[in-house]
Symmetry: C2
Subunit: 230 residues, 2 copies
């Protein structure tokens, strides 16, 4: 239950109470939050504090404010407005090598999980992505489709924590894919090679063969990484 | 450079401009941000919008507001006030199995990176942690030391992205370690077993043997996971 707030950092405590309502199941995905006025009364805090807390949670991608309709817990967590992890990465002056390492660690194992759990519908969708990628003429579109390929595989792993992490660094991964593709495609027949690598991952997923899928993804990422290290 | 803002979602754009200053290196770790008054003038926005943006970035753990001293870019990103990834995990009704999967994926590979990169100083610190853990009487303290063990290894990997990710889900990992230890220690001689597992990881790190470190970590996590699945 909500209870009045006494301490100093007020907006922080408003958020803690919302978090507690999420933790105990009172608030679920898609639910409407109490109105700002209700929160002010329930928690005995200023309207400014409530609004700061709401804004912060909106920016983090946890809630959405519908115009004139109040605040809602979001029901999907794609497309965050702001990615703290990506910004920390910039502040730490992280280099591309770190993104390479993380992708190899996460995506090789994630595709293995996906191989075991992928549904027919998800296979169909990945099959379509590969066809679209093969026939894409515009590189800007191709980058978007390539990202989609990796993201759909993560989704097929059914591990929401891994999916959220990849979402939280989505702009870093996007930039990586964009740069890697530019470097790879600068060389002759690499478009065919790239597309056969994607296909190998897809075939392994269709066979639900975790080891083969992991190996195909490892080869694909090693290939991309080789160009990024040049 | 900062430029005046025209659009509607004002606080969001204030954040984008701060982000741009971080991306281009104008703002670095530990730097003082322009004052709220200066931002109001430079960006031609309301004080409320500036304050909302600052609050949101403070809550995300990107900046800190020193009392009477203005806003600073943080120089370390431990101890976030709020963890959006952990909250998304709750909203997705993620179960413990997902944390197990992620830890196995991340930590087994991270300890392998750490084996190659760990410094003498870091080895000393991990050695001390193991001694402290062996002699801890109070379980509440032991949980904290155990967390420290895993976190120091991540730090020794020198991959700031992996470190930030582990920080961003720190409360999930804490809860996991706490529960796992309770279940493990409920059985007879497990304290000795647990401590020998930590020691094996440490010995492999001292030898800078990546494969042995990964295997020791895998065995340690498998052991913990077995109890968590009971």
């Amino acid at each position: 239950m909500l209870s009045p707030i006494k301490n100093t950092k007020v907006y922080e405590q408003v958020m803690e109470q919302i978090k507690a309502m999420i933790a105990d199941g009172t608030l679920k995905k898609g639910d409407k939050l109490p109105t700002e006025r209700e929160l002010v009364e329930m928690l005995q805090v200023s309207r400014t504090s409530v609004r700061e807390a709401m804004r912060a949670m909106e920016i983090m991608g946890l809630i959405e404010c519908k115009q004139g309709g109040g605040n809602f817990v979001r029901d999907n967590f794609e497309n965050n407005l702001f990615e703290p992890l990506s910004i920390m990465f910039m502040l730490e002056k992280g280099d591309t090598k770190e993104i390479i390492e993380l992708r190899k660690i996460l995506e090789v194992e994630t595709v293995a999980l996906a191989a075991a759990r992928i549904t027919e519908e998800e296979l169909l969708s990945i099959g379509n992505i590969i066809e679209d990628l093969k026939h894409s003429i515009n590189e800007e579109t191709a980058v978007k489709i390539d990202k989609r390929f990796h993201y759909e595989i993560a989704k097929a792993s059914k591990n929401s924590l891994i999916i959220s992490i990849l979402n939280a660094i989505s702009s870093l991964i996007d930039a990586y894919i964009k740069n890697a593709r530019t470097k790879i495609l600068a060389e002759g027949d690499n478009k065919v090679l790239l597309s056969s690598q994607h296909e190998k991952v897809y075939i392994a997923l269709k066979k639900h063969d975790a080891a083969e899928a992991a190996e195909a993804m490892r080869q694909h990422l090693d290939f991309a990484n080789k160009y990024m290290s040049k």
